[in-house]
Amino acid sequence: MQVGKRVGPKRKIWLLSGAVVGIAAVLGLVVHFLPSSGYSGEIRGTEPKMRLMSKEQYINTLTHIFGSNLRIDARFAPMSRKDGLLANGAAVANLDAGKLDQFRRTATLVASAVTGPEYRDFLIPCQPKDEKAADAACASQFLSSVGRLLYRRPLTDEQTNVLVQVAGVGAERLGGFYSGLAIALEGMLISPDFLFISDSYEPDPDNKGRFRYDAYSMAQRFSFLLWNAGPDDALLKAAESGEIQTRKGRERVVDMMLASPRFEVGTRAFFDDLLDFEVFDTLFKDPQIYPSITGATIVDAREQTLRTIVNHLVTQKKSYLDLYTTRETFISPALAVVYGAPAVQGWTAYEFPEDSGRAGILTHLSFLTSHAHPGRSSPTRRGKAVRELLLCQTVPNAPPNVDFSALNNPNPAHRTQRDRVKAHLENPVCAGCHKIMDPIGLTMELFDGAGVYRTSERGNPIDASGDLDGTAFKDTVGLAQALHDNPALPSCFVRRMYSYATGGPTTHDDGPYLDYLNKTFGEEGYRLPELLRTIVLSPAFSQAIPTEPAGDEISEPGKAGNLTANALQHEGSR
């Protein structure tokens, strides 16, 4: 099967042996002129993407299918960050033998647990006539029902038959029905149909000559965006019935999904990506210098900010901008020691005191510790993070021949970090970038590398004055307000969210629609659910711009296409 053609009838179970599969999207230039409520300009559709499932998506999906008792210890290679998001890196990820082996090991454990004696009576809807022999009827019942959830669309009869055959052969060779079933399930868990989230498209009956994503692709696009997991049975039913292809049906489905507790999971996933929180997986603080930063502190720091975000944006439906000024948050005992506050066991609501110097998530330990050195603070890292993560501005990397001696061997006469980083501004090679980072980061010097509030450094008063794009402030509360009022803050958020939702970096052509989204985001009080609803109900989310295939296999209007495992199989065989 090739890109631009309908999926062929012959699919096989993929027991991959390590072929390198590169997936790269080719920029399409087709522009659609489609109506959208409240917007009369151009709305581009998006190119079909094939994305490698993230570790969290893998775990969430299997947990939803098999239950949370099933402990899934998945350790997958990290994605590369592209245009500010790991999610964009998933669309250019490759799967080599090493990565496949990681998936295979996890699949083996999951399949073994699901079919094992502890869970089989709960997870397998039938019992074999003889546990020591194959049972095609029972295997078919289980594999077709689970396969629909794993592959995010019903299995074809041939797919089911092949899986049942695999289970049967396994049962014979391994001497038991459940052993055979485990082999078939493991095969599904390493199949590209499961591991790759691929978009399929079809002619749009309402817009001749154009394409839309098919119903199952829409279901998974909704689900991985809003829940960070594969679609559930209700969502697949909405796809099967065609409801999801109607405006009214999509609205019902989206509202249902936004009201689900799983939306909190989806929100966490986005902000975890946006705020570069994968650094917490490897964050280290020198225990000699920061004895209060324990492993529990680091885990809880990440959780505190995500918990605050979910409560602020999802539960209370407050403004995204206020996230950077609110003193409302949650603390745990491990964090309370650093914040200097009492906290009973578990998580409790907490409001930073007015005189704490803390306002907004930039003054959480998560930001302050992750954008600092293991043994000291870093105004440069903090300033760079604000510029890149929150304002979508690019700060070039330091030149390779930069002289760090002034920082690594500080002059004792330099009493505070402000004195030391002056070297940046005196060197014209450095000054260009540091002028936009340091005035932000130096204000955050009110917090040391562990995030502890301070007003002096080694006995010397800290001058925390700073500037953000012409707005001056004297402390972190002032910085928070300046960030809150900076027009780049919401526009960057919209850009990242649109990119995250559509599966790839934005381009210049997206500009008009992003302007529209910015406008409506502001008019609706900078509320996350409204922004997401606008995006996912827009043609930008549902319309496909077919990738132009190479050679003579040109996609023709009126024919369906996809980026599926079959396409991969074909590409791999060339």
């Binding site: 603080k285 210098i289 004895p291 009973v344 450094e457």
Partner: protein, 372 residues
């Protein structure tokens, strides 16, 4: 147990804060000069206990000065003497069970073992009776009249060696592990941690785990303890006291000290006329608690550990019991006149905590379940 001696710290209490701050500033670019600032909260400050050990003072190599005849034999050595491997046939009842019975049904009748009592003259502790008697000790700082006859009894038992006694390591381990052991003192009516002529000290039992630092060994000031009175307020007691040059001195009061040992088995101490002398900082408190402990109760605590554990520290419960009875110096029995309690001192360390009122019993129980 830290190597810092509380006695030294008591003497240097005023200087400690300054020395620590100066040393920290010189050692690191960051943080040590600006830890989280913990101040008094409306004249109150609370601490939770992180170490408590019966005070033993060993200053000579291998304690040969304090124990010139060496350390006492333990259960294994005594068993070998009583029942040598000479071919004699003996029943389990006549041997192991008989010795176990001697622990749980103790008697002051003589045993065929010579008990090696402490010979040293210096001891930690306090002058409990305001007198200077012949059998009193002298404190490391030279204060006469120190009452700590418990030290005379346990000072030459290896389990209680000052720095490496098995009892010490075991008790500190269980103290940290089991939340039942959270003994908290709250000092109120405090105007200054340096000098205050009248303060009130109250004790409670807490609910929460201790907060350890990144090394996992030291305890962080600034944690939180919730008062736990699901089984009553038995740990509550009140003292009046004063702070003199950074050291808390209190009057005596009776106290039920919560204690949980191996496997979380609870076995509280009923301490009589106990009082504090603690060097205070905004983050820590360190020093002694001293008073009288009931002899029968003390030996019951010893017996709550298995004989195998006692053997590691050469601690013979029957022999110790007899010594405790001999050295007991307080609370005479109104009928016989025999002393029922023995003067004692606990070396203690506390770390600063926030103290919060108890939530509902159901919430507390759910948290305890998670903690264990």
């Amino acid at each position: 147990m830290k190597t810092i001696l509380w006695s030294v710290r008591l003497g240097l209490a005023l200087a400690v804060g300054t020395v620590q701050a100066t040393a920290a500033a010189a050692s690191s670019e960051e943080t040590h000069d600006h830890p989280v600032q913990l101040g008094l909260e409306q004249g109150r400050i609370a601490y939770v206990i992180t170490a408590r050990n019966w005070a033993v003072y060993h200053r000579t190599p291998d304690a040969k000065g304090e124990c010139p005849r060496g350390f006492n034999d333990g259960p294994r050595e005594q068993f070998s003497q009583l029942f040598p491997n000479d071919g004699t046939k003996r029943t389990l009842l006549e041997t192991q069970l008989m010795r176990e019975g001697r622990q749980w049904f103790p008697s002051p009748e003589p045993e065929p073992f010579k008990f090696k009592e402490l010979a040293g003259k210096v001891s930690y502790g306090l002058n409990l009776d305001g007198q200077v008697k012949d059998n009193d000790f002298v404190s490391p700082q030279g204060e006469a009249g120190i009452d700590n006859q418990l030290y005379r009894a346990i000072g030459c038992i290896a389990a209680y060696r000052e720095h490496d006694g098995t009892s010490k390591s075991s008790r500190n381990e269980t103290l940290r592990r089991y939340n039942y052991n959270r003994f908290i003192i709250e000092i109120s009516d405090v105007d200054s941690l340096i000098d205050d002529d009248r303060v009130t000290v109250k004790s409670y039992r807490g609910l929460d785990p201790l907060m350890t630092d990144a090394s996992g060994e030291a305890f962080l000031p600034g944690g939180t303890q919730e008062i736990d009175e699901r089984w009553g307020g038995f740990a509550r007691a009140t003292w009046t006291g004063r702070i003199v040059q950074g050291v808390l001195h209190t009057e005596p009061a009776d106290l039920t000290l919560p204690a949980a040992g191996s496997f979380g088995t609870t076995d509280n101490y009923s301490l009589k006329a106990y009082r504090f002398r603690l060097a205070l900082t905004p983050e820590h408190a360190e020093g002694v608690m001293a008073g009288y402990v009931d002899v029968e109760e003390f030996i019951h605590h010893v017996n709550m550990t298995a004989t195998s554990l006692q053997s590691y520290g050469q601690l013979s419960s029957p022999s110790l019991y007899r010594a405790l009875r001999r050295f007991a110096d307080g609370y005479p029995d109104p009928t016989s006149g025999e002393m029922t309690a023995i003067s004692s001192a606990l070396e203690v360390e506390f770390v600063r905590v926030y103290l919060v009122e108890p939530s509902t019993p159901a919430k507390q129980s759910s948290r305890v379940s998670r903690a264990h």
